[in-house]
Amino acid sequence: MSRDEQQKTTIPFWRDERILRFLGQIVFVLFVLFVGALIYQNMKAGLAKQGITLSYSFFNGVSGFDIAETAFPYDRNSTYWQAFLVGLANTLSVGVVGIVFATILGVILGVARLSTNFIINRLAAFYLELIRNLSLLVFLIFWYLGVFLKLPRVKEAIIWPGDIILTNRGVGIPWGIPTASFPTFRLILIFGLILAVIVFFALRAYGQRTGRAPLTLLWSILTFILVGLLGWIILPEKPLTLDLPLVKGLNLSGGKILSPEFMALTSGLVLYTAAFIGEVVRAGIQSVSKGQVEASRALGLNAFQTLRLVVFPQALRVIIPPLTSQYLNLVKNSSLAIAVGYPDVFYVSNTIQNQTGRAVEMISLVMVTYLAISLFTSLLMNWYNQRIKLVER
């Protein structure tokens, strides 16, 4: 057999690397499916042995328990499903409030960490090192038992200026109660929002055309506030009346009462996550080469303009991906609410599981819920990341 002939012969499929790779993948997928089916069968057999079947029909039953904090009407005659939704709404409110405040605090910390002012710089560094090396559960319990439950009892409430009442039953803050003219006011606010968006795009177009750098965002926010204020003054009846919190009987009433559980959970999560976001922001800013700053200063931009127009847009590209994981961490960590007794989705599901004995159903539902929240958050952040990433030509 000559060399030429040998090369012409086709390779048998069991030695063809492309086919082998393909087959390997198929075998692996089949294997994973097989293991999954085995686990599922085992679980079903185990449950069947004890006469338990899998079903979500119990969800329509009357729950029979009360929940302290509900975003919408709920009482003991509501169904388990409504109880679950109450928990979900609480998780989302902690997630949203937590993300907003953690981001603001985190950016401040990150910038402070790079400050040339020695004291600010050292203080920020100390805070970041301290918080990042604590256990979150310990931190939360500290805030709950060590801070918010140590506030004075209702009868000896501390009253801060601005009618903020601090007690171990909760923190009462003044809150607006909608009146008859509120729907009109809401329309005015929507109009203001539209106007603000128009101002935003107009200023941006102006900036691109002339090469100047107007404070686009600031002006559009000001527009919104101006329209809101005008509406507030023009309307004959004020759209919101201020409701002040006060001590009544055994508890606080009026205003908005933030329970110690909510306060402990959000402040714990915000202060903890902000430390990580601070490091992310610092890393992002430091990733912009020094030459960029020097060049922009040479062009005559001042320090603020340098930060806003040159450093931040570039730093964001580095910041967004790790920031996304911090957001996800915050939402997932909120399930530690169970340690301080805040009725989030995991906590309510636990109660339902106890009262009905439906462990498999509830745990799987909670897992799907967290997965959905996390995927949605990443989706948003990935979309934003696409928007700001470096366009390479």
């Binding site: 185990g46 328990f65 039953r169 462990a359």
Partner: protein, 379 residues
């Protein structure tokens, strides 16, 4: 590189296969069922002249738990670790309490050795899952008998060992005396309990609005109460008495003179093994009977040596074969009383007048003294 990949794949597959086997392992009883098929047991009745007993057909699962426990060499008992008098870890690190002593009595009945028991603390939330999954052999954790738990949760309640009712504790200086006084107040309660549901039921029927503050375990609930997070705390009255004893200032708290529910507390076993249920049940009755016949751990040997009354002789295994019928040794009741004590001894040790968790016996007295404790005849 590719070699490494192949090796890794094989390794992963191996681990997964192991995991799959591990997943199947906790259900050895399932395998036994398929092997066992139907066992026909013919019982010889020792009484002369009586006809042969009909063949008994044992259902699937019958006797599996006792076999497992014997093969393992100890009993795994799910208990509370946070309620003094019922289930608690004492200053020396030992488990103590009436529920704990019941586990010891069961171990004494099976092994003739009260120490062959492993206590596994379970929370209110995880207790039923632990029992269903076979992680524990029996649940003895001040658990209230209710219909749903008896059916849907896949368990059976053994005879009640402590009759309780739900109560409400408030600070003494609060001036609150009735449930209506709690209008608009906050009430601390533990999650996953019948207490949580009773509270909601009672308050709804009284038309009193309140805010619940719900916690994961008893320690957290009472810590929050001690900090003044809530105006009142509710749980079984026995639980209130025992938890009050560990509050910073026990005398500063009073238990309201209201009973909000019936709370029969007792051990619970899994569905499907009637022999195990019988053993658990008659362990309770042996403790009742011990008190009824004045047999204590101190005098049991004397009684055994001199007993003439037929029922006492049967109880202590001198006559008949009651223990064998349960699948135990004939002296199982003797072992329970000798090694752990009768009901009165166990009660006084944990909840008696000399303990910080003193609860008057009330309903938990013998039927001869106006209580509800009544053991069926040992024959």
């Amino acid at each position: 590189m590719r070699k490494i990949f192949v090796v890794l794949t094989l390794f992963t597959a191996f681990v997964l296969a192991l995991a799959a086997c591990g997943g199947a392992a906790p259900a050895p009883s399932g395998e036994t069922v398929t092997v066992k098929e139907t066992v026909v047991v013919t019982v010889e009745v020792p009484v002369a002249g009586s006809p042969a007993a009909p063949a008994v057909v044992a259902p699937a699962g019958y006797g599996v738990t006792l076999e497992t426990v014997k093969a393992r060499g100890n009993l795994i008992c799910g208990v509370n670790s946070q309620v003094p008098g019922f289930g608690y870890v004492d200053a020396d690190g030992n488990f103590a309490g009436i529920d704990v002593d019941y586990c010891r009595a069961l171990a004494a009945a099976i092994f003739g050795d009260a120490s062959k028991v492993e206590f596994r603390p379970v929370t209110a939330a995880e207790r039923f899952t632990a029992l269903q999954s076979g992680e524990i052999d029996i649940l003895s954790r001040n658990t209230t008998w209710s219909l749903v738990r008896d059916t849907e949760l896949g368990g059976n309640f053994v005879h009640t060992t402590f009759y309780d009712g739900q109560g409400m504790m408030v600070p003494a200086d609060s001036g609150l005396t009735t449930l209506e006084d709690l209008e608009g107040g906050t009430i601390c309660v533990q999650t996953g309990t019948t207490t949580e549901l009773n509270l909601s039921d009672v308050m709804a029927s009284l038309g009193v609005s309140y805010t619940p503050a719900v916690f994961e375990d008893a320690d957290a609930t009472f810590a929050a109460y001690a900090e003044g997070r809530c105006d009142a705390v509710t749980t079984d009255k026995s639980g209130l008495v025992s938890r009050r004893s560990v509050l910073p200032d026990p005398s500063a708290h009073v238990i309201m003179d209201v009973t909000m529910s019936k709370e029969p507390l007792g051990p619970m076993v899994r569905h499907g093994d009637d022999q195990w249920f019988d053993i658990a049940q008659w362990t309770v009755f042996a403790m009742f009977a011990g008190e009824e016949f004045d047999i204590t751990s101190a005098n049991v040997d004397d009684v055994k040596a001199n007993a003439t009354a037929p029922e006492v002789r049967r109880l202590l295994g001198l006559e008949g074969d009651l223990g064998l019928k349960l699948g135990l040794t004939n002296d199982f009741a003797y072992n329970i009383i000798k090694l752990v004590g009768n009901y009165e001894e166990v009660y006084n040790r944990n909840l008696g007048p000399d303990t910080p968790t003193y609860i008057p016996r009330g309903l938990n007295s013998l039927y001869t003294e106006g209580g509800l404790l009544y053991a069926p005849p040992f024959r």
